[in-house]
Symmetry: C2
């Protein structure tokens, strides 16, 4: 079984068709306060017709926690949700992660549809089976693998996304390109990629399709699928470190910077040409993203965060996804602490523009 | 993949063999305060050798809740558990349900072994993939399907179980016998079944094997496996009603009484001979269990609880597993509220000894 990807130019109509074709007892929409205000109104008549209950929580990654999860469970329970109910997760990655986990665990699992409202949500969180919450100060520390029944990707802009949000999704698209093929990667290097809607939609669709293909081949992340973590090992550490400092760095921004660390290590350890490091820095990172500012005194914390990543088989054993060349990823490459520190040194040199 | 059932006369030795043969990074034991005191000491040297961290919580069904789950997650996180760690759930059904759910969701799932320490735990909770917690006043409202990697069943008595605990497991054994075969059921009708250790172990082993067979054929409870809910629809309602009243009724006791309701409905709706109702009442219920005392004024509450059961496709739509005859279960039989009330009337007549 695989998730159906529904590509549509008219979300309300597509949703109406889905809900009419589906048998379900009880319909619930999980969303956040921003999306509730900006996107929900245009789906209101369809949802009303199908008697949907709306469960919304305050927008923000800081609410992707146990308390919000518990509130969603309680509302499902109080409103008589059954194993045959259907949940629609309408929102960005926080909504699909949280709502997906609630659906995966309420009465041991009910069906859900994801409707991503951000570029990042579409290319990252909404496809694939990862759901979860942040816990104990760690991202996605608790969660489940659960297959969305369908993902609806709307080609009408769902909300006026700030440029920052679009970039956040773009970081994920570039990651997928780098592990997939030179051809795909070359498209992302186009100078106007973020301002040209057609080009952006093109790489977005390619990214969703590639992610779906990789996930289908390895739903439980036993092997192949690990390549999707390219750039995320250092990226998550950057994200967590900055979050702890009260600075906000978007997921895509963190990943875009994590990719540079992974490319440096790829040159050091798996034979990737050094030219790729510069091509990425100049064609992607410098053009669209800000670097992460840190110093030697932060190496210890970053190393701890990286070795704590759940992708690592044991605490203290550091592994990265690296590239042999563009489109040729290698998983589970062991990285020593001295090598990691060298890569962080080089990262700082390269981004000290 | 299927759970390995490890039958052993020497638990410490079998555990030592398992842990030596297994690659794992970090070993955690989830247990409750009773088991920690009564059973854990005899495994202490093996667990110490393998550097196990012990996570224990106060014994009791009332602690099978989100707070305890959250404490387990936090201890795993604080102690550096990774995706390659191994959890051993040592205890009764509360421990295997809670510890199994923690394992199923920590970092999106890590391996676990169940070591049931009660008859009920062995024949009910420890085998099969159901894990979960009570939530919002409802049993197992939140949870996951997760396959234990192994279940170790010890033939040495793990603790001096009170007779009440043994009976609790016996209720589940009788249920499995009724949905399996006349031969198996006939063994459970033996007068001295609970005092003859060999006979009890014999039906216990049969019960585990049958449950394993049924679960393997239908791990996600799409069809066949529903037969394991025989007696549980009314049984859970009895359990919840009594819990709300502050009276304690064991799971097995509730199920044993729920079975009588299901047998009455089987005669009314699916052609089972009425003789089976009396054979069960006299050979099982009256001999080993107390009836549940309730009156007409409780029908409404019981009906509400039954229609709220997560096995029902939608709230208000009442379905039971019933028997055509011994060993021939039928799933998803619709039961009207008047029929249910009639069955409750007959139940009261039959148990007003």
């Amino acid at each position: 079984m695989s998730t159906r990807i529904i590509d549509t130019a008219n979300l309300a109509e597509a949703l109406e068709n889905e809900l009419t074709a589906t048998e379900h007892c009880g319909l619930f929409v999980v969303t956040d306060s921003n999306v509730k205000e900006m996107v929900l109104p245009r789906l209101a008549s369809v949802l009303q017709k199908h008697k949907a209950s709306i469960i919304s929580f305050t927008a923000g990654e800081e609410n992707k926690n146990l308390e919000t999860l518990s509130q969603i469970w309680r509302k499902l329970s109080d409103n008589g949700a059954t194993r045959k109910s259907l949940i629609i997760n309408l929102g960005g990655g926080v909504v699909t992660d949280l709502g997906g986990f609630a659906a995966a665990t309420f009465k041991r699992g009910i069906q859900f549809i994801n409707i991503p409202t951000t570029v990042l949500g579409a290319v990252d969180a909404a496809v694939g089976e990862k759901t979860g919450i942040d816990f104990n100060g760690l991202k996605n520390e608790v969660g489940a693998f659960a297959l969305p029944w369908a993902v609806m990707i709307s080609s009408e802009p769902l909300c006026t996304l700030p440029q920052r949000e679009i970039k956040s999704g773009f970081g994920e698209i570039v990651k997928t390109a780098l592990i997939t093929s030179e051809n795909f990667y070359a498209l992302t290097l186009s100078e106007n990629i973020l301002s040209d809607n057609d080009s952006l939609r093109n790489v977005m669709t390619m990214s969703v399709a590639e992610k779906q293909r990789i996930t289908d081949e390895d739903p439980l992340e036993k092997g192949l699928r690990k390549i999707l973590n390219f750039g995320h090992t250092a990226g998550h550490a950057f994200e967590t470190m900055m979050m702890a400092r009260g600075a906000t760095v978007s997921h895509g921004e963190a990943v875009a910077n994590g990719i540079l660390v992974a490319l440096i290590l790829s040159h050091m350890l798996t034979g990737m040409s050094s030219g790729e490091i510069y091509r990425y820095r100049d064609g992607i990172l410098r053009r669209h993203f800000s670097p992460i500012a840190f110093g030697c005194k932060d190496y210890e914390e970053l190393t701890r965060l990286i070795s704590h990543d759940k992708k690592n088989p044991s605490a203290g054993d550091i592994r990265f996804v690296l590239l042999e060349s563009i489109g040729k990823p290698l998983i589970d490459i062991p990285v020593t602490v001295p090598d990691l520190h060298t890569a962080l040194d080089i990262y700082r040199d390269l981004t000290g523009y």
